[in-house]
């Protein structure tokens, strides 16, 4: 079955290396559940990437096609697939964490045990060591009687049913609609033979769990309808309290990465992986994983950008979820992170020509640097020179968060002006952009190539900024055309790109209506 393994990586392809480059980021290997896809893990891929990790995943044998393809796949095939992928990527990172959801957590645990994983941590999300949840059917205990019956294992279907592992009614309605539309994010049923293989996998793990040697986090919902807390308790007891700990969720069913407690799951996972998150500067407890020289160089690079007034350029030095905290009660105030940081950078740059000057000597505390500075800005002939200090937090060579502390914040309030209330009924540009991005996927007819390139280039300019990287070769015609189209938008402002994108999508939708 090895030949059937479809492996994919969310990271750029790289040649396997036994010694990772010193600056290589940590990696996370994510394994989905039975009959599922990466959808099982919700936004964990994105959250991990935004926190600076490289994520790796695979589509397990028998998955991603038709449920019938699961027949004939054994537990050993799944184990072999994850072991192969693990060996392929472990050399790429100084630390590689393992993480699995549902059956994927059984596989992650077996993988950790077999490979004597010590290069990182292990996260087990809703591991079904026992199939004994409150909504498991009354005949669940009879399944071993059916296993020996010839032919029945392949032909008998075990169906997914309401509540689909989701407590949140709205999310459940969405998942139900996806099933009804026939979207291929999760199999609607699996063959009985497949359940037999999961039972075998459970038996393998139950026998060997005590040999797992890495730090392990088990996250389990108290109301998990498929597998009770007994599973989590079993694993923690077997692995041992010194290495394993458990987080119990109170407002989710089985699919904990997409249900009500998904934020708690993400937070605990990121903390467990030692990822410093935006907003963590107050704790001052982050291990920066940077040498003092690297930290000083990062501060210098950041202050150079700020001295040039290149707020947008800060993103090149930061994690995608970079947070900027601007004090006061004015038009620029607030915590701006991720996508809203781009909006903030665009607004503060336009019409204010802001920059920082007069940098003092930085004071370091672990991954945090405090830098005295002066904010200089101009507006309608008036000049602002506001003294204060910048608090810059770094992790793994990346800027996580910047906080500006003004000595006289009232002066900045007066300079930037009062915050404007959004007019009732109006939609923010970000919201309009998101809605247009969604609407572009519902066009009844695919636009011509030029329009598609225009849509692509505007979307990338609005969401990423100026094009980067090398121009693809002449043989890679599609990506070359996309790269060229994006290049033509160079220096176009984020808001302008968003507006143009929204207008273009509206124009296309209107065209359909005629």
């Amino acid at each position: 079955m090895t030949g059937d393994v479809v492996a994919e990586s969310m990271a750029p392809p790289a040649a396997p290396a036994t010694e990772p480059a010193p600056a290589a980021p940590d990696g996370v290997f994510l394994i989905h559940g039975l009959g599922g896809t990466q959808y099982d893990l919700g936004s964990m891929h994105k959250r991990l990437k935004n926190a600076g990790f490289v994520t790796h995943s695979l589509t397990l044998p028998g998955h991603g096609t038709r449920p019938e393809d699961l027949a004939g796949v054994s537990a050993e095939d799944w184990i072999e697939a994850v072991v192969t992928k693990y060996r392929e990527v472990r050399g790429l990172h100084p630390r590689l964490h393992l993480m699995g959801m549902c059956m994927g957590s059984l596989l992650a645990a077996v993988l950790a045990q077999r490979e004597r994983h010590a290069q990182g941590n292990l996260v087990l999300l809703a591991p079904p060591v026992y199939i004994d949840g409150w909504a498991t059917p009354w005949y669940r205990g009879l399944r071993p009687l059916l296993y020996p019956v010839p032919g029945i294992g392949r032909t008998m279907k075990i169906e997914e049913e309401d509540p689909f592992g989701i407590k949140n009614e709205q999310l459940r309605a969405i998942v139900k609609a996806k099933f009804e539309r026939g979207e291929n994010f999760h199999y609607r049923w699996v063959p009985l033979e497949c359940i037999r293989q999961v039972d075998r996998l459970r038996a393998i793990l139950m026998k060997n769990a005590k040999h797992i040697g890495c730090q392990t986090l088990v996250i389990h919902a108290r109301e998990d309808e498929l597998t009770s807390l007994r599973s989590a308790n079993f694993l923690v007891e077997q692995i041992g309290g010194g290495r394993a700990r458990m987080v119990v969720l109170e407002d989710s069913y089985h699919m904990i990465c997409v249900d009500n407690d998904r934020e708690i799951v993400a937070k605990n996972v990121l903390e467990f992986f030692g990822a410093a998150m935006p907003g963590a500067t107050s704790a001052l407890a982050n291990e920066p994983k940077m040498t003092p020289d690297a930290l000083a160089a990062a501060v210098t690079a950041t202050t150079e950008k700020l001295a040039a007034g290149d707020f947008t350029g800060l993103r090149d030095l930061a994690i995608p979820d970079l947070a900027w905290v601007q004090p006061g009660i004015n038009r620029m105030s607030g915590a701006h992170s991720g996508k809203t940081f781009a909006s903030f950078a665009s607004r503060i740059t336009q019409g204010h020509a802001p920059r920082f000057a007069g940098f003092g000597t930085p004071v370091f505390n672990r991954g945090v640097a405090l830098v005295p500075a002066t904010l200089v800005a101009q507006r309608d002939g008036a000049t602002l020179q506001s003294q204060g200090a910048l608090l810059l937090a770094f992790h793994g060579g990346k800027l996580l968060e910047a906080r500006w502390f003004a000595d006289e914040v009232e002066r900045e309030d007066a300079f930037f002006g009062e915050p404007e209330a959004e007019a009732p009924g109006t939609v923010s540009l970000d919201a309009a952009f998101d809605a247009a991005a969604l609407a572009s996927k519902t066009l009844k007819k695919a636009p011509d190539n030029d329009t598609l390139l225009a849509l692509y280039s505007l979307f990338k300019q609005a969401s990423v900024g100026d094009v980067g990287g090398e121009r693809p070769g002449a043989l890679d015609m599609v990506n070359r055309a996309k790269h060229d189209a994006w290049s033509q938008r160079k220096a176009m402002g984020r808001d302008d790109a968003m507006k143009a994108y929204v207008d273009l999508v509206a124009q296309l939708k209107e065209g359909e209506g005629q």
Binding site: W134, E159, E160, P163, E225, N330, G334, P419, E420, P424
Partner: protein, 426 residues
């Protein structure tokens, strides 16, 4: 090939149920107490797609013909019984398909009415009329007795078997979902009590086990357990238990045991009583299961409606409120916890709502609410600042309408409030 397999299986099940019907035939009256076989043909017709109907009817024809031959009927007469089975079952299934949507889910009382009055009863009557005519044509004695026995035994048998076939044909193995384990366990207890009490009542001469009239009086007890079972296990459990329970009652009564066997005011009285008892068990279980399912469907529909409504107003950052000026009570709908940091239950009065309004504007907003009560501002829009979940300032745009009673008096004031962030927070 598949059609042939279906026909053979139907014929085999038909004969098996015919054999059971023979076992429970009431010996003293020498009559069929129940005829179970027609129920499987009728039930399968209502469960399977039309493409399978020919195979099912062919199986029923073969089964009926073979059984009549086994009973000693000449070939032509036996074929006649086969034809009666096809016409009665096929016609009844066709009638039900006209009255309700197939497959029957047992979630609406209308489905049950269609099954009983549009299906089981016409099936029994049609079969009885045709069989009686056949008997008359063959110069058999007592055609009216044939009619009566055929109608009653077929009607009861069909009601015992067809719902069970329909309900179980929709059974699917699931990874999770459906009946919870506690419900299954409680239903199992009710099932044991139901079957156990029937066995206790009917598996011995009543006078030997219970003194006086205690035995006949206790025949109500299993009904209670059937009601519990139907509530907990639904249609599948209720129909299966009713089938097994009816067989316990009939087999023992045919053997001269149980409370009904002792009462024989006229020949066949016990048979009639046991038929009535079995019918009561089957109908009560079905009725309770269907009514219970209808309640669940209504609750599910309401929940889905609420989910859609919550999603719609949540996406627009809206809250809805209903204010009763007479009591001061407010009912807020929407995710006020997310938008304002206060759960809807904690916004129970107008004072609770006004507490969210920024201090400088609170009096102005309170005054406008008073004006709404006095009938000024039938359609009134008001904008005011409120505190957000994180303590930041938000803008509430409150559009209120007055609801009046039939006499024009103020009943409630209802409003839709849009909570908008400031630009800095957008």
């Amino acid at each position: 090939m598949h059609q042939l397999v279906v026909a053979v299986v139907v014929a085999a099940v038909y004969l098996a149920l015919a054999a059971i019907s023979t076992v429970v035939a009431y010996a003293p009256a020498d009559a069929w107490t129940v005829w179970l076989s027609s129920g499987v043909v009728f039930g399968l017709l209502l469960s399977l797609p039309r493409a399978r109907w020919v195979a099912v009817l062919a199986g029923g024809f073969v089964g009926a013909t073979a059984f009549a031959t086994w009973l000693g009927s000449p070939p032509l007469e036996a074929i006649g019984y086969g034809a009666i089975e096809v016409i009665a079952s096929g016609g009844a299934a066709l009638a039900v398909s006209r009255l309700t949507t197939l497959p029957i889910l047992f979630e609406r009382p209308r489905e049950l009415v269609a099954l009983i009055l549009g299906g089981a009863l016409p099936l029994a009557v049609t079969g009885a009329v045709l069989a009686t005519a056949w008997h008359v044509a063959a110069s058999s004695p007592s055609p009216m007795a044939t009619f009566r026995v055929w109608v009653i035994s077929n009607f009861i048998g069909t009601l015992l078997v067809a719902p069970m076939v329909i309900a179980w044909s929709q059974f699917r193995l699931r990874r999770s979902g459906g009946m919870t384990m506690p419900a299954f366990a409680a239903g199992a207890v009710a099932c044991v009590l139901f079957l156990g009490s029937l066995w206790l009542l009917f598996d011995a001469p009543t006078s030997d086990r219970f003194g006086g009239s205690v035995g006949p009086t206790l025949t109500y007890a299993p009904m209670l357990f059937m009601a519990l079972l139907a509530l907990l296990w639904g249609t599948r459990g209720a129909t299966l238990a009713a089938f097994v329970g009816a067989l316990i009652v009939m087999v023992n009564t045919a053997q001269g045991e149980g409370p009904f066997a002792g009462v024989e005011g006229f020949l066949g009285e016990a048979e009639l009583e046991v038929e009535g008892y079995a019918l009561a068990i089957a109908l009560m279980g079905l009725l309770i299961a269907v009514l219970s399912a209808a309640q669940r469907v209504a609750a599910r529909t309401a929940r889905e409606w609420q989910t859609r409504f919550d999603a719609a107003i949540g996406a627009h950052r809206l809250l809805a409120y209903e204010w009763d000026p007479a009591t001061g009570r407010v009912v807020v709908t929407g995710d006020s916890l997310q938008l304002l940091g206060v759960a809807p239950a904690r916004l129970a009065t107008l004072a609770d709502w006004l507490a969210l309004v920024a201090g400088a504007d609170r009096d102005r907003v309170a005054t406008r609410f008073d004006e709404r009560v006095r009938g000024q501002g039938e359609a009134d829009t008001l904008t005011y600042p409120v505190a957000g979940a994180g303590g930041g300032a938000l803008v509430a745009t409150d559009e209120a309408r007055v609801i009046r009673d039939h006499d024009g008096a103020l009943h409630r004031i209802v409003g839709i409030v849009r909570i908008a962030p400031t630009v800095a927070q957008a």
